[in-house]
Symmetry: C2
Subunit: 226 residues, 2 copies
């Protein structure tokens, strides 16, 4: 077969100059699309058109890559507003929104200390906007809000995934979980819980998040201006 008849080999991904940013962006793209378990050094490397070991010039371990991903996400989390209440609320809401856009964040947030530049810049932005607050109150306030957000977001994303996993539509979810809870409650072993689940008002995710956040901010207000 002559050259002319043979098709050219497909374009290889050009060995573009590598750097941490490109690596992290690629990993985030994979994680956004298919979750954290889709992020392996081999897959990231393949997507970049390089061998797996190439990445080890830029990171020392996979954990470092995950740290870099989280720090990159922190770049999207910026509090705005005036006054400590607005600032903390906006910190919480924008963290939550980042986790909605990058569900894998829910798996990583709070899992390791965040000391990267964007995380620190985020802390700086928050603290700088709390300038009216007593210096000794700043850290506890921010820590409490962050703790609440991390936990709330984890539960929210976990619930979302469970729904999604039980068949793509919400029909099956109710078909699978509803009966289980019905049967469980029917045993009579959880009467108080059954009553609450059956009779109390059910808030959606947004309202649940905001209500908890309001609790917290109200409580902070009571202490800060005591």
């Amino acid at each position: 077969m002559l050259v002319w008849e043979r098709p050219e080999p497909p374009d290889r991904p050009v060995p573009a100059p590598l750097n941490r940013e490109r690596i992290v962006r690629t990993a985030i793209r994979l994680a956004d699309a298919d979750g954290l378990e889709a992020v392996s050094l081999r897959k990231v490397a393949t997507a970049l058109g390089v061998g797996p070991m190439r990445l080890y010039s830029y990171i020392a371990s996979k954990e470092e890559l995950l740290d870099l991903m989280v720090d990159a996400a922190y770049a999207e989390i910026r509090p705005v507003g005036d006054g400590w209440r607005e600032v903390l609320r906006s910190l919480a809401e924008s963290t939550r929104q980042a986790a909605h856009e990058h569900e894998w964040l829910a798996d990583l947030l709070g899992g390791r200390p965040q000391l990267g530049p964007h995380a620190l810049a985020n802390g700086e932005a928050v603290v700088a906007r709390l300038d009216g607050v007593d210096l000794d109150d700043v850290m506890p306030m921010v820590a409490a809000v962050n703790a609440y957000v991390i936990g709330a977001v984890r539960r929210e994303i976990a619930a979302r995934r469970a729904e999604r996993a039980s068949g793509m539509d919400e029909r099956r979810w109710q078909a699978a979980l509803g009966p289980y809870l019905e049967r469980t409650f029917a045993t009579g072993r959880f009467p108080a819980l059954a009553t609450v689940v059956r009779d109390a008002a059910h808030l959606d995710a947004d309202h649940t998040f905001r209500m908890g956040l309001d609790f917290l901010l109200d409580g902070i207000e009571a202490r800060v201006s005591r």
Copy 2:
């Protein structure tokens, strides 16, 4: 070589009757000793003296094993006390204590919906003790406390691990982290943060946890008795 000269083979671990409880207890023992990454189906099976695939008669996947571990841990989390404030505080404190005894809990809490019998029994115990509270307030209150605890405990355990990992003593930790922060702050890019870290009072883990919890409970109080 005659039989008499040949040593008997070493005692095999007797193929003790298997059940989920033994499997879960073994997995928890491994996780307590060496962390979650020490829990592999092979290691659990080996510790039980059986082949890996044997476990699949009792669980459908590793995730199910982790779910069972979390549910087993919930058996140790029981709120006590009278009045919603005492109950919620005790829920928070006993959850935190369980995570101190089983650090791997910090990795799993909030990661998947908890619908196991012990988790439900825990919910039942909490809700049953909140009988004075308006029915529509119960879930938001409990959800908020749980969210806070999950986040707070994750951060606390993460910090503890970081210290422990940077050399067994605390010397190296300060030798490694202190200078990094010093250098970072010395750049002048995080002035407000630097001021707080350097000049504000530093609470230990216990006080930080309780302070955040107090914020939250105060805020709940404001709403519940409005």
